[in-house]
């Protein structure tokens, strides 16, 4: 590749190559405090969809060790998003060392809350707000459950803020570092937030899962107990590698849902969401 960089995020080392300098330069700037891996577990390639598309209306094809044949190309101005999507794709399709949950997580006193739900449920925003409130940010995309210990391994990649959250977090975290505002992406306006120094420094320190939440943004405040069977089903759906892990995944997931209380929470706005998480945490 013409341009390349390497970074380790939690236990996963990435090598990212690109036909263009700009996405790699942005990654180097935003991931400046992350270590360079000794071994790259996953390779990401940002290549032109056709040779001439490197210069003429540049369009990025997402590639790497593993690919989705129908992944739509992105314009070069969305290069950072393309890199993040391609990194996530490699993890979702290729990672086998942990049970992967599509979830956000934050730690306090060695224990963590795991927030899982569909895109738009508020995982990224809530986890960023918890970080702003003093929690240690563990990740906003994947929580990695150790198959032997059941501990949650951090994967503190850039926080992907969308639409209304972009302005809200910029207002609430004036000292934080952000990537460029990316408008007109398939998910609307996106801006990446760099996790704080504490999250990066402690990214090899796991946490014990203590609370499992299924948030839903935009509804009146409500809390509902989620029983073990429902939590199990919802988490099999939230995991990209549960079926691939076989019995090890079954053991890890059944242990998680039998040991960790689960709640579905509805919240109307961000303040209410953070208050709900804090209230439920204090009630443990």
């Amino acid at each position: 590749m013409r341009h390349a960089t390497s970074r380790r995020i939690g236990p996963i080392g990435f090598r990212i190559g690109s036909d263009w300098r700009a996405p790699v330069a942005l990654l180097d700037a935003l991931y400046a405090d992350y270590p360079v891996p000794t071994v790259a577990d996953a390779t990401v390639r940002l290549t032109a969809t056709r040779p001439w598309r490197r210069r003429v209306r540049p369009a990025i094809a997402l590639g790497g060790d593993l690919m989705l044949p129908d992944a739509a190309p992105l314009p070069l101005e969305h290069g950072l998003l393309a890199a993040e999507m391609a990194m996530n794709l490699q993890v979702a399709l290729g990672h086998r060392r942990h049970l992967l949950l599509h979830a956000a997580a934050a730690e306090r006193d060695g224990r963590c809350v795991i927030l899982t739900g569909e895109s738009g449920a508020g995982k990224s925003t809530l986890s960023a707000l918890l970080m702003a409130a003093g929690w240690r940010f563990l990740g906003d995309e994947f929580v990695l459950i150790d198959l032997a210990s059941g501990m949650a391994r951090p994967f503190p990649r850039l926080v992907s803020l969308k639409n209304e959250s972009v302005a809200e977090l910029a207002r609430r975290m004036p000292g934080a570092r952000f990537g460029p505002v990316l408008q007109g992406t398939p998910k609307g306006t996106i801006r990446h937030l760099v996790p704080d120094a504490r999250a990066v420094a402690a990214m090899d320190v796991p946490a014990t899962p203590a609370l499992l939440l299924f948030p839903r943004f935009g509804a009146a405040r409500a809390v509902r107990r989620v029983d073990e069977g429902e939590a199990f089903v919802r988490l099999t759906q939230a995991s990209t590698n549960y079926a691939l892990l076989g019995e090890a995944g079954f053991d890890a997931l059944t242990r998680l849902v039998t040991r960790v209380p689960a709640r579905a929470i509805d919240y109307a706005d961000s303040d209410e969401g953070v208050t709900l998480v804090e209230d439920l945490w204090c009630a443990l």
């Binding site: 029983d227 073990e228 069977g229 199990f232 079926a243 079954f250």
Partner: protein
């Protein structure tokens, strides 16, 4: 005759009112409601007829009013899921 997976072929984990089952030969997960786990436990010891299965369940789980039709329906569900075979 009904034939279920042997004891070494599956793992059961109670999850509240339901039970998660991992079936090793097929590497699949099933979420079961009573009396499906009890049927599989009873069949793990060896083949038996539906009448013998009903008697075993009535004895082991203190069923007040064993219903052969209801049991047959649950067995049929396990057959459809590939967990029990009719020998």
């Amino acid at each position: 005759m009904l034939r279920g997976p042997g004891e070494a072929a599956f793992v059961l984990r109670p999850l509240g009112a339901l039970t998660a089952l991992y079936h090793r030969p097929s590497a699949t997960t099933h979420l079961l409601a009573p009396p499906a786990p009890e049927i599989l436990r009873a069949l793990a010891g060896g083949e038996m007829t539906e009448a013998a299965l009903l008697a075993a369940l009535a004895r082991d789980y203190d069923l007040a009013d064993p219903d052969p039709a209801a049991l047959a329906a649950r067995v049929e569900e396990l057959v459809a899921a590939g967990l029990v075979e009719r020998a």
